[in-house]
Structure formats: structure tokens, C-alpha cells
């Protein structure tokens, strides 16, 4: 199954994103807790792009394409502009997050711990981040 969502770069769109993902993941073999975590991981990447790559400019958008098979769900997140390469991002230490009192830095950490595989590719000004979640058979 293949589903698409266009998200305009405004954080108020995040609840719509969660609802969209919930409907797709509900059809998979993922437990409620796993579904919750996968929704969180996809949202973290999208929120990061909305805030840091697009400065919450609601005229800009990111496209989400979800490809779901019996064994795998792939979330393809596409945007145009300055790319954010999640694979090159250096995670801060938790102790640094506390010390610096900065309220960011935890999102990408969550994504890397929740997802089974992450890919990033940049083609001109088009950036694609792919998040993979393996499904266990029933």
C-alpha cells in the first residue's frame, strides 16, 4: 500500500501528520507501543525539517510517502532546500543536553533508536530521508 501526505511547514500540521500515520500503522502488525514510537520518529524528522530547514514558512512544504508491505514500512520524506543529513548529525550526549539547557537535540536520537534503517540522499536541491521499520510476521 502506498499513501501520501503533503505537509506545509507549520508545526500546527504535526497533529494531522500523527493522525495520517495512525491510520496507516493501525493496519500493520506493530503493537500499540511500537506504532506510537514509529509515529514519533517520523514526526521528529518532519518537525526538524519544518523548523530548521524551512524556518516554519507555511508556504513551503514537505512530502511524505509511506510504502507499506507485509514485512516492511518505509517512510519517504522529501523536501526541497538546504538538506538536513540525519546520518551525519552528531548526537549530543544527554549530559550535554542537560547542561546546555537547550531544548533540542533529543529528536534525532529517538529516530535512530526507534527505526531499523535510515537513508538520506540529496539530488540537487531535493532531499530524501527514508526511514525503515521492519514488521514481524503475525
Amino acid at each position: 500500500m502506498n499513501s501520501q501526505l503533503r505537509l506545509y511547514c507549520d508545526t500546527s500540521q504535526l497533529s494531522e501528520l500523527r493522525q495520517f500515520l495512525e491510520e496507516i500503522l493501525d493496519e500493520t502488525t506493530l503493537s500499540e507501543i511500537e506504532q506510537h514510537q514509529v509515529i514519533l520518529a517520523v514526526e521528529e524528522v518532519c518537525a526538524n525539517l519544518i523548523i530548521h530547514s524551512h524556518d516554519c514558512n507555511s508556504k513551503e512544504f514537505i512530502d511524505l510517502n509511506v510504502i507499506s508491505t507485509q514485512s516492511l514500512v518505509v517512510f519517504e520524506i522529501l523536501d526541497f532546500g538546504k538538506g538536513f543529513n540525519i546520518l551525519e548529525y552528531q548526537e549530543p550526549e544527554i549530559s550535554q543536553v542537560i547542561k546546555s539547557k537547550r531544548k533540542g537535540g533529543l529528536g534525532i536520537m529517538l529516530v535512530k533508536r526507534i527505526m531499523d534503517k535510515i537513508e538520506f540522499e540529496s539530488l540537487g536541491n531535493k532531499n530524501i530521508c527514508r526511514l525503515f521499520k521492519i514488521l514481524k510476521s503475525k
Binding site: T11, S12, L14, S15, R18, E32, I33, H36, Q37, L40, E43, E44, A47, I50, I51, I94, V97, I98, K99, K101, R102, K103, G104, G105, L106, G107, M109, L110, R113, I114
Partner: protein
């Protein structure tokens, strides 16, 4: 959407969080904690029994107070987390850094 209410019980300020915390509204959580801190609260309990979702933006708010609370002897305890929300704290090991209790009674005990 996030709703924040607060009340006083046994000398503790209790913040009741209902709904979902994401990057669009984590400032509301920050403002609510900041408000009770400015009121001089030394014991802050966060009732999360009505919290359905928290993203890193919300986690970051809690984390940003940890150092300050330790320096100023302010105690913050989170209670009533649904399992799916608790797991988000657990993935990053934040359940080891933030006091989390199952119930309000246990949170009041410390």
C-alpha cells in the same frame, strides 16, 4: 492540543497535563513550569495521566530544568504516565534522570 491546569496539594504544586505535547505547543509546558518556579514552588508534581503523546520538544522542556532544580533544591516528579508515553522517556534513558512514579500518592511520598 495541550491543556495545562494547576492546583496545590500537601504543599506541592501539581500541574495536570492533558492532550499531546509536540513542537507546536511545548512552549506552553515550559511557560507553566516556569510560572510555578517563579511562584517559589519547591515541590512540583506533573500529572501525566491524561497525556497521550510527547515528542522530543516536550522531553527537552523537562530536561532543561534538571540542572536548575538540582541547584535550587526543587523537586520535580512526574506521575501517571501511560505506558506508551513512558516508553518514550525510557528509550533515551530519561527515566533514570527524571523522577517518575506510577501514582500521585507515590509522587507525593517522593
Amino acid at each position: 492540543m495541550l491543556n495545562v491546569e494547576k492546583y496545590l496539594e500537601s504543599g506541592s504544586r501539581v500541574l495536570v497535563l492533558t492532550g499531546e505535547i509536540d513542537a507546536s505547543n511545548s512552549v506552553e509546558l515550559d511557560a507553566a513550569i516556569s510560572e510555578v518556579v517563579q511562584e517559589g514552588a519547591k515541590n512540583i508534581l506533573i500529572d501525566c495521566s491524561g497525556l497521550e503523546y510527547i515528542s522530543s520538544a516536550g522531553l527537552g522542556v523537562f530536561m532543561s530544568y534538571l540542572d536548575e532544580f538540582e541547584e535550587n533544591n526543587v523537586k520535580m516528579v512526574i506521575f501517571g504516565l501511560k505506558d506508551k508515553v513512558f516508553q518514550v522517556f525510557h528509550i533515551l534513558g530519561l527515566d533514570q534522570l527524571i523522577s517518575i512514579r506510577p501514582t500521585k500518592e507515590q509522587a507525593l511520598e517522593g
